[in-house]
Symmetry: C2
Subunit: 337 residues, 2 copies
Amino acid sequence: MSVTLAIGAGGKETEEFVERFILPLFKLKSLGGVGLEEMEDGATIPIGDGKHVVISVDNYTVNPPFFPGGNIGKLAATGSLNDVAVMGAEPKAMFDAIAVEEGFPLKDLKEIIKSMADVLNSMNVALLGGDTKVMPKGSLDKITIATVGIGIAEEPLLTLDRAEPGDKILVTGPVGDHGATILALQFGIKVETLKSDVRPVWPAVKALREALGPDLKSAKDPTRGGLAMALNELAERSKTTVFLDESKVPLRPQVKEYAEMLGVEPFALASEGQAIFVVKGGREEEALEVLRKAGFEEAAIIGEVRKGRPGYVISKTPVGGLRILEKPIGELVPRIC
Amino acid sequence: MSVTLAIGAGGKETEEFVERFILPLFKLKSLGGVGLEEMEDGATIPIGDGKHVVISVDNYTVNPPFFPGGNIGKLAATGSLNDVAVMGAEPKAMFDAIAVEEGFPLKDLKEIIKSMADVLNSMNVALLGGDTKVMPKGSLDKITIATVGIGIAEEPLLTLDRAEPGDKILVTGPVGDHGATILALQFGIKVETLKSDVRPVWPAVKALREALGPDLKSAKDPTRGGLAMALNELAERSKTTVFLDESKVPLRPQVKEYAEMLGVEPFALASEGQAIFVVKGGREEEALEVLRKAGFEEAAIIGEVRKGRPGYVISKTPVGGLRILEKPIGELVPRIC
């Protein structure tokens, strides 16, 4: 038995790997806040007065490291800060741990670090520390960057278990741009009219929190495993049925086209600059307006939380049929993020 | 210009890289606690009442991943928790981010994760989250693990700038065992009587803190760059001269022998289970006794902090001559930790 790509794909096999090989081994899995077992985007350490330090860690291995819309540095910084933001925390600090291959062009490394800095500087986030390891030529293909995002949140945290029947689901914009871009590049398809959507989602979280208060229930960024994985996690954690109206999901024609050409589910393609939000039913139009005003002009209401078989995502196709939208299985795109 | 192994070696070139290519780019480098510019083992976020959340991040790339005395899992968990401990913080939580090559034996991955769990379970540290990425065959040589250690510390933090002339320097035990072991393995030398010293140093920090209070000034684990780098950082950060008595430094004959055979400075070899401590002059014998009682039986008093040219380490050789112990230059052993 050996390690397969699917274990790292962020879908069903990743979950099974964590449940079988990680969760049973560790005695302590929380410090009283959100911990390992919740499998949220980040974990939290309560520090009193209803405040939490929110921490999220991810290792970015995207290949190629430079792509339309950004590079691995922009992605690594944005990704971990987004994971913190969707817990309801204002991003405050970051750490990075770079592994780079001996012989990697120094100017490329500088550009990557510059892109990380641009993200942090634009959001007033501090870089508190880092680590750079150089691996001998041939032992690493180019570069990987692990980043740690740190934020401070006040309760309620925007965890998925807060969603209830009657709540509505919104997305900030078109899904799958990042995944389709990297997929196309890896298949040698020239990408001209499409680019990664990588961008911070904190402005969306902030605007909604301020406008809706506790009626903003949950948030999640649909990265590895895409919208399909994010909605399945929402259904599981909130023990509800999630209903998705596919005709309402913003999806660029190019993304649809690439997905069809390559035989993949477009809703399983990663976004790196979108978030999905669950808001109390009745406040969805207001939430939409707030998102648009905050610069997320392509935001849309895409579904709702329903009573029913817990843990299922029922998806209405554009022609009106119903299907179960499953968790992605296998590895669509290795090194997508 | 391309990336060299020396940039990741933790010595002079690493410092220059950070000073030239990282520090100038990031606007915010602290949240009011210890930040990026201090270049300590970890950074801190003040949370009021003189308390700090202490965080440290490192990416472990050691090759081979299994070695006498441990494996990359034990090393990655111990390493980041040690970095937190030497700031004066009790380790409380960890995150991990694994990158592993497709086809890596699953049983080896399980053993590595089991070793991480053993370290955490023995120290009552929670695993709060993690990330596993699988890289296609040929794009990563085996496995790397980035870990985030998190602890809570009360002031005073054990930062290097607290050292003053008159203070004494102790080490918990023989230095260089980890570095010599990995070095020998990488050179194809059979390692029979030597093993990595990888172990948690928190018990030593805890015992000294309880016994000495604020008279325990500073602590540091001499990992990449070894004792030579650690003492140079101490001298620089405290703006003092550090005096080392080489005849007092515990050093196994095998480590000395390997170092001579391979032409490297033994004091530049990494330890992964030792700490150096600075204590107020006059309390060093008591500190030594405390360390021995806490299980660090080979601890020793190895030097002192003096007035003089700031930033220099003056080292008395076993035959009585004086030399300047420089920061390590170049890369002794790639993928040593």
